[in-house]
């Protein structure tokens, strides 16, 4: 129909430029149209006043408009409108037909498999039509791009889809081959790094339009799919971890499914979740104990429901490095108090925490506990970078700011900022505002703006209430179940004392409030990130009552303090810290190794020699040298190919000359044949976006008959620019006829013929 009226396919108009072939200038067309409009207005104006029955203004306007439009149309035709469009020269261009041959194309979701439907489309005339005008090269796209002779060679057996890689190869071939266009038949399931901007830019640079033909259902009838699972890359042994699992379902809205987390055959966490309506992404958390040290592979799965079409996408794996470090926390307390004793007792059982404390028992005496060496802290609070930075965390109890020298205060600030340590400030009669910290460099690192007054510490009872953030925080989880956890917090005995910590800063998170029994509400537990580290305020010295006033078997006090102190130090790293962007490579090969190196005083170290020793499957052992990142000082990078599926362990060592600065371990895993089972719906959005950005068009299989004609209009390959007349388009004559007819009919109706 479009072609009948407009003479050419829509692609001509969308890709071409409108031109006027007449020898007169374009401005004259506008001028004459304006003059005609003015001239036609005169008789209409007169008719408003001279007729015996004056014409209605609106009706006169309509008549004038139709007449003006008619004259303008005639003038336009006189100026010879045309469209200039680039077209591929017949038989001189290559059309690259890429067919996705990955396993997801074997999914039978609309009667036949996606692969069969693609073959049907190709053999049903598309290839023959293309071959009439172009040279056609047929490729199997999946892993590596491979040329095939006939569509029958497709078997939907490639375990991975790398559309980006395929398009990159076509772009590189375009430098020596006149590739006029790409036709991509796929379900859009790209699972190996995605279509990145450089790939698309490369295609655009060669002006090769990518036309896409989408296969597969855009949404399944009955399926559950895990989309992602967020876990920390590393953690302390025996820590409570949270896996944030996002998933969606179709056909099971309102039903319940069991979400679980396993390590090997052992179930670590399991809970029932109510499924949201079709297509809605929902995120649920699973809490579990990390267990002992080692590189752990956790399997997160949704139990299959009856009638589920694809159960392979119900589970995925994540790797976490569980470390057995005993992290050292220095606790300075200004006076003997019960909180000190009970904090020590609470973390005594934690194998990953070591509390080294110094307590001012008298004006001139310090009692040290937990020290490794009799000389440790012998001279009092550390005054040197190396001494303080040897700890991972610091607790500043009820000790006044004046106890520290100016240099020590600055050192504490840098302990969080530069070292990346955690600093916890406790309430007390010499803590926070009472201790005069508002006027010190530490005020900057606190998560609160301290009150500008004294008498903020009260030895009066106060209950505790979790805030919304506290209810979600792992730090405040005494119980795994959120509701039961909330109940436990509500039942906690009141605090023996509390302190007004001031106003939380904009970046801070208040996890719990103190509710004095005398009335009011004050922030109690406030955290924030500061520099490379983190700081927190726990504005009381009276949580020991949670231990003394609860049954012996109740572990609320111990769990709270262990989790708070683990949070304080678990993000404090050594001089060398390594990471990979993903812990599991799903059908990917390349992994980026990233290592950050800091010197003895934790300043970025630019002159290190960094080597990674990679141990992999089947006895693989390889040494990789990491190169300095030109953008980030102290960061070293290397891209490495994990050629075999399996688990990999990497030991990274950094040296300056012969001096070793430190070592770090990381692990990752490559899994093949997994990714294909995820995102199995047709990714129409990706195919449409690819077409749109490269000047192509997205087709459904039933629309491909138009493709051979429309594909001709391309600037890629060897093309010529054609000018095609538009003045004789049927639609123009039809328009002229309709304008005149409309005017006549209206005149008849209004009686002004």
């Amino acid at each position: 129909m479009f072609e009948l009226l407009f003479k050419y396919p829509a692609a001509v108009f969308s890709k071409g430029d409108l031109v006027l072939l007449g020898s007169w200038p374009a401005w004259l067309l506008g001028a004459l149209a304006a003059a005609a409009a003015a001239a036609l207005a005169i008789p209409v104006w007169r008719s408003l006043h001279t007729r015996r029955t004056p014409l209605d203004r609106a009706r006169a306007g309509v008549i004038w408009g139709l007449q003006t439009l008619f004259v303008a149309l005639l003038l336009l035709v006189l100026w010879q409108p045309a469209v200039s469009v680039a077209t591929l020269r017949p038989q001189q261009n290559v059309i690259a037909v890429l067919v996705d041959d990955s396993r997801s194309m074997a999914i039978r979701d609309q009667g036949s498999s996606r692969r069969d439907r693609a073959v049907e489309v190709l053999n049903g005339g598309l290839l023959d039509q293309l071959k009439k005008k172009f040279q056609v090269r047929l490729y199997r796209a999946g892993g590596e791009l491979e040329r095939i002779e006939k569509p029958d060679a497709l078997n939907a057996g490639v375990p991975v889809t790398r559309l980006g890689e395929g398009l990159k190869r076509i772009a590189s071939e375009a430098t020596g081959l006149p590739i006029g266009a790409v036709v991509l038949l796929s379900d859009g399931g790209e699972n190996a790094g995605g279509l990145d901007l450089p790939t698309i830019n490369e295609i655009r640079r060669h002006r090769i339009p990518v036309h896409t033909v989408g296969f597969g259902r855009e949404k399944p009838a009955r399926d559950l799919e895990i989309l992602d699972a967020q876990l920390p890359a590393r953690s302390l042994a025996d820590s409570r971890l949270s896996a944030q699992v996002s998933f969606r379902g179709y056909g099971y809205g309102g039903r319940k499914a069991r979400l679980m987390l396993k390590e090997g055959e052992k179930t670590l966490a399991s809970r029932e979740v109510a499924l949201k309506p079709d297509g809605a992404v929902q995120t649920e958390s699973l809490l579990f104990n990390a267990g002992g040290a080692g590189a752990k592979a956790y399997h997160i799965a949704l139990d299959p429901l009856d009638g589920e079409e694809n159960v392979q996408n119900n589970a995925l794996t994540r790797m976490v490095n569980i470390e057995s470090n005993r992290l050292r926390i220095l606790y300075i307390e200004g006076e003997p108090r019960w909180e000190y004793k009970f904090i020590r007792r609470a973390v005594e059982e934690d194998r990953n925490l070591r509390l080294i404390s110094m307590l001012r028992t008298t004006q001139n005496k310090i009692y040290r506990q937990g020290i490794d060496d009799p000389k440790e802290l012998e001279q009092g609070f550390p005054a040197k970078v190396e001494e303080l930075f040897a700890y991972q965390g610091l607790i500043v109890g009820g000790v006044e700011a004046g106890y520290f020298t100016g240099a020590q205060l600055e050192l504490i600030r840098q302990f969080a900022d530069r070292r990346g340590g955690g600093v916890l400030f406790l309430g007390g009669r010499a803590g926070l505002a009472e201790g005069g910290y508002a006027q010190t460099p530490l005020a900057e690192m606190l998560p609160v703006v301290l009150p500008g007054r004294k008498n903020t510490f009260r030895r009066d009872p106060a209950n505790v209430e979790l805030t919304a953030a506290g209810r979600d925080s792992l730090l405040c989880r005494i119980e795994d179940d959120p509701e039961r956890n909330l109940g436990r917090w509500k039942k906690l005995p009141y605090l023996m004392n509390y302190q007004d910590p001031g106003t939380p800063k904009p970046g801070a998170v208040v996890l719990a409030d103190a509710l004095p029994t005398s009335g009011g509400r004050l922030p109690l537990l406030i955290t924030q990130n500061y520099g490379r580290g983190r700081t927190a305020v726990f504005a009381t010295g009276g949580s020991w009552r949670w231990q003394m006033q609860q049954p012996l078997e109740d572990m609320s006090h111990e769990v709270f303090w262990q989790q708070l102190l683990r949070w304080l130090v678990s993000g404090t790293y050594g001089h060398v810290i390594s990471s990979t962007p993903k812990s599991v490579l799903s059908d990917e090969i390349t992994v980026q190794l990233r290592t950050e190196v800091r010197d003895r005083t934790y300043l970025p170290m630019a002159d290190a020699r960094v080597e990674a020793r990679v141990l992999g499957p089947e006895g693989l052992a390889e040494t990789v040298e990491l190169r300095p990142d030109p953008v980030n000082e102290g960061v070293y990078l290397a891209d490495w190919s994990a050629l075999k599926a399996g688990s990999y362990v990497v030991e990274v060592a950094a040296k300056r000359g012969e001096e070793e600065m430190g070592r770090d371990l990381l692990s990752f895993r490559r899994e093949d044949g997994v990714a294909e089972h995820f995102h199995t719906n047709q990714n129409r959005e990706l195919l449409e976006k690819l077409s749109q950005q490269t000047g192509g068009r997205y087709y459904q299989p039933g629309q491909v008959s138009k493709l051979p004609e429309e594909i001709s209009y391309s600037e890629g390959g060897i093309s010529t620019r054609e000018t095609r007349d538009l003045w004789n388009m049927p639609v123009l004559f039809l328009a002229a006829l309709m304008i005149r007819s409309s005017e006549w009919l209206l005149r008849r109706r209004w009686g002004i013929v």
């Binding site: 200004g334 006076e335 003997p336 108090r337 019960w338 000190y340 004793k341 009970f342 020590r344 007792r345 005594e348 307590l359 001012r360 028992t361 008298t362 004006q363 005496k365 009692y367 506990q369 009669r429 030895r459 009066d460 023996m496 010295g541 020991w544 009552r545 231990q547 003394m548 006033q549 609860q550 012996l552």
Partner: protein, 271 residues
Amino acid sequence: MRPRTVGFAVLLAACLWSALYGFQQRRPRYYSLFYDNAPVVTPPDAGEKTEFAFARMRYPSYGRGPGGIWAMRGNWTIDFPKADRHFVQGVRRLTRIHTRSVEEIVDLSGDQPYDWPWLYVVEPGHWELTEAQAAKLRDYLLRGGFLMTDDFHGTFEWKVFMESMIRVFPDRAVVDLDNSDPIFHVLYDLAERFQVPGVVTFGTGRTYEYDGVEPRWRAIFDDKGRIMVAICHNMDLGDAWEHSDNPEYPENAASLAYRIGINYIIYAMTH
């Protein structure tokens, strides 16, 4: 109105006034057995809220039943309150512990003991804990409380002490403390100690009572090796604190008694 009625009204008013005064003071008045019952002036800062208070345990005396009138004037009141108030002055002066100027009387019932993680018991050689009190004390100690016993002497009083203590901890041994134990070094180094005498020393120079010639520094430990019950047998630290203002009492004994008490408190607040 008849004079008799007026007298009755005056008497009633006086009673009411006394009750109201007592309530306002919130500090019940007990009378100590045997010794200095001279009126004690309540310090002006008695109402101060502090981190630490000298918590004196009230218990039923041996053979007298658990309560009633004997609870008001039992063995638990020995040296009270002068010893307590003298001693806390020392704690205040010599340490950074925020200490109340007056003592707290603690019964082994309800939740009250759990708010006072350090308890002092005098003359446990005359105590007789009920089953409920023994269970409460066991629970208190296992949660993190600390008990210091003092002023009991000789074989007989040890036997009485253990009759109740065995019901608190049937399966925990009482062990002699080594001089190197942290409790003797947490603030003062007290490896060298001697028998601290009670008032028996006045006029006699004797330092022991009954057959308790040798001072015994004993303890019951928890599963982590921390002292829960510090047992001072064959000595009288309470008398030393009480009579530390008496020129006749040996200064060195008073000094040692203060040091031991302070070490025990700091140990309890750090272990």
